[in-house]
């Protein structure tokens, strides 16, 4: 079963909860108890329809209690795919949550209220999904029932959004527009009879037919050593396996590899997943690799193909999404966790803040406050092996850890 993780962001009133509730209902993922509760509450409120926002009522209750909401995960499945929705609130003070939700997602839904059209919040959702290089984005124009299912309204919003698209950095991002009514169920799971002018897929159909090539960029293989397996048993006396996850591309037995940072050369001898040997390790598979030559590797080292080396350097510049109440300032020190590798980092310079709504940059900055996005240069105490984020989503990203609190205080995308 394929698993597709979809990032959604939005506020309470744009119909996001209703949309998620509708997907749960129309895929028959709601419990009977829950349905009864929804039906009862809808009646009490005097609605002549089922209020599906109640399906995610746990989140609503959180809002009422004023608890900080972060990423909530909602699970449902169809016969074809398992879906995980990473749901985040959409206001500017939740930028960090949106970045977090988008970082683990392969697709995204940007919700627009057909009565309001493209608003500032739409800019921000789009900016973040584009910054995180989500390959497939659906712009769901919702509440079509409240604009009489008007094709003109849909087209006007679409062309406003297309103007925004011209400003994006990641031009290859695939964007699909779908007119929906989450409340009435138009084009969410089932195609609508109310909008004969729209010929495309319903929202869920769109995701059902997505292929892996539609959501993943194939890059070059990087194999960060996560853990060294040395059983030292009689049966496996000389076994020295390098356990880790393959990122970006495949690795095969016989591949000539270079170990970083030592630059020692060797050849892949075996690839294990559990006790089975494989000829090729696919992207994102967790495997154990043995080499032809006895070389010393430890956690944080990296195996790469000899004809395709990453940058090996003690400094880099990155777009940073700041997530902590304490400011990031020039000269501040952090632990950089780059995959499974760690280094001490010092902020060399904060170049400029980027307004996450395409309204421009702020040049004159001395520090970053929570939810800021900015261009920042770092110097490290040792070289790390990285690619630009746009070339390699995994090997081009890192997190910043506060040396005092140990909290994760920021995320970075290397430029």
């Amino acid at each position: 079963m394929e698993v597709l993780k979809i990032a959604t962001a939005g506020s309470v009133d744009d119909g996001k909860s209703t949309l998620i509730g509708r997907m749960l209902y129309d895929t028959k993922s709601l419990t009977t108890d829950k349905l009864e509760a929804i039906s009862k509450t809808s009646k009490q409120k005097g609605y002549d329809y089922l209020d599906f926002s109640l399906a995610t009522d746990g989140l609503v209750a959180e809002r009422e209690q004023g608890i900080t909401i972060d990423v909530a995960h909602i699970y449902f499945s169809t016969a074809k795919k398992s879906y995980i929705i990473a749901d985040t609130p959409g206001h500017v003070e939740y930028t960090r949550n949106m970045v977090t939700g988008a970082s683990t997602s392969q697709a995204a839904i940007i919700l627009i209220d057909a009565r309001k059209g493209v608003i500032e919040q739409t800019h921000r959702h789009f900016f973040i999904n584009n910054l995180l290089r989500i390959k497939d984005v659906v712009v769901a124009i919702n509440k079509m029932d409240l604009v009489a299912y008007s094709e003109e309204t849909y087209n006007a919003i679409k062309s406003d959004f297309e103007a925004l698209m011209a400003k994006r950095d990641y031009q290859e991002q695939r964007i699909t527009f779908i007119p929906v009514s989450a409340l009435k169920g138009d084009n969410v799971v089932h195609r609508s009879d109310n909008m004969p002018w729209y010929q495309g897929n319903a929202l869920l159909e769109h995701f059902e037919v997505l292929d892996r090539k539609d959501i993943y960029n194939v890059g070059t293989p990087r194999f960060p050593v996560q853990y060294v397996i040395r059983p030292k048993t009689e049966e496996h006396h000389d076994f020295r396996g390098f356990a880790g996850k393959v990122y970006g591309g495949e690795l095969s037995v016989g591949d000539k590899v270079v170990a970083l940072p030592s630059r020692t050369r060797s050849t892949i001898k075996e690839i294990y997943a559990y006790d089975k040997k494989y000829k090729t390790a696919a992207r994102r598979s967790s495997v154990t690799i043995t080499l032809e030559d006895e070389i010393n590797l430890s956690r944080g080292d990296m195996l790469v193909k000899e004809d395709d080396l990453p940058t090996v350097d003690k400094q880099f510049t990155a777009t940073v999404s700041w997530m902590d109440a304490q400011q990031l300032r020039p000269g501040s020190k952090y632990v950089v966790q780059h995959g499974v590798n760690k280094a001490l980092a010092k902020v060399d310079a904060v170049h400029h803040k980027i307004r996450p709504d395409y309204s421009g940059i702020d040049e004159d900055v001395d520090g970053l406050t929570m939810n800021d996005i900015a261009q920042v240069s770092f110097k490290l105490n040792k070289p790390i092996f990285y690619d630009a984020f746009k070339e390699h989503r995994t090997n081009g990203s890192f997190i910043l850890i506060d040396t005092q609190s140990n909290n994760t205080v920021g995320a970075g995308f290397i430029v």
Partner: protein, 318 residues
């Protein structure tokens, strides 16, 4: 298409690994879980796997085996035993540990009760379920564990939907849900201060059906109570309770003999059964799959937590 691990194999992969020797599906969820296990072993000094004998913790053991093969699992298992477990579960636990040559630590709730640290509940809804916390925290302190691996899943309930994969706990084992570390991409930050520990949930993103499908595909042995069997039960609040010396039963609650199985397995006082004819894993997976299609409301753990809430209310009255 059926949801089994063979089809799980293709998530986030361009191609499935080419097999050299034999077949064996590798699922995307499995890849993620193995990655998490290796992060635990690499980032922590003294991890422990919390083992209840239930299907989720049995699945964890299989995943840990896979993560470290051909080496042994590099940390012990620990069972916080309420003393009210199904005998089938305990027998299964001991056999599993012996077969795999694992180290098992058992700490007993009874000892916490005898030491006066916790008080046994009484009455109609009494259970030792809540008492486990004290025994667990004492054991964490005794062994200086810095990472406790558990089988909780995000699809289980609303609060869990927000839980991190690495969830930092303070000296008192408390979860500060307002102040959780963001988890980006698959980077896991396990840096902690002395005295803190981390709860690790390697199957966070698995659903109940994923776990059952995995057990089916991997042919993992599980305790017999997960399969339909004749059992003496009684009905209360729409739930099927085991008739046992450990479970309080009113005189007017009639003992019936029925074909039942358990969908989740905790201790006898907090685990209800479902009527079932599924005597093998294929039957169980079919039942779960069909019940998710028609009504997830039949989920026993949902009902159990409602009953648990009911129970607290009841005790307030006593």
């Amino acid at each position: 298409m059926e949801q089994n691990t063979e089809s799980n194999a293709i998530m986030e992969m361009e191609t499935a690994p080419t097999l050299l020797e034999t077949t064996g599906p590798i699922s995307a969820l499995e890849n993620e879980s193995i990655y998490i296990f290796r992060e635990v072993a690499a980032q922590f000094e003294r991890p422990v796997l919390l083992f209840s004998g239930g299907k989720d913790s049995i699945t964890l053991v299989r995943l840990a085996q896979k993560a470290f093969w051909p080496a042994k699992i590099p940390f012990p298992l620990m069972h916080i035993d309420t003393g009210h477990n199904f005998p089938e579960t305990i027998a299964f636990r001991d056999k599993l540990v012996a077969n795999l040559g694992l180290e098992l630590i058992v700490r007993n709730v009874q000892d916490s009760i005898d030491a006066g640290k916790v008080k046994e509940e009484s009455g109609k809804y009494s259970s030792r379920n809540a008492l486990q916390t004290t025994t667990l925290l004492d054991a964490i302190e005794e062994f200086k564990f810095d990472a406790c691996i558990g089988g909780a899943r995000r699809d289980e309930e609303k609060a869990r939907a927000k839980e991190r994969i690495f969830s930092v706990r303070d000296d008192f084992g408390q979860w500060d849900e307002r102040n959780q570390r963001p988890e980006l991409f698959d980077m896991l930050n396990g840096q902690i201060e002395l005295g803190q520990n981390v709860r690790v949930f390697p199957i966070s993103n698995w659903t109940e059906l994923d776990v059952w499908s995995y057990i089916q595909a991997e042919e993992i042995a599980i305790p017999s109570i997960y399969f339909a069997h004749k059992r003496k039960v009684f009905l209360r609040d729409g739930l099927i309770w085991s008739h046992s010396e450990h479970v309080y039963q009113e005189e007017d609650e009639e003992v019936l003999e029925r074909m039942v199985r358990f969908r989740t397995v905790g201790d006898m006082s907090c685990t209800a059964a479902v009527f079932s004819e599924a005597t093998d894993i294929d039957g169980v997976v079919d039942e779960i799959r069909n019940s998710t299609i028609s009504e997830r409301g039949a989920r026993i753990d949902d009902k159990r937590s409602e009953a648990a809430m009911e129970k607290r209310k009841q005790q307030g009255y006593f």
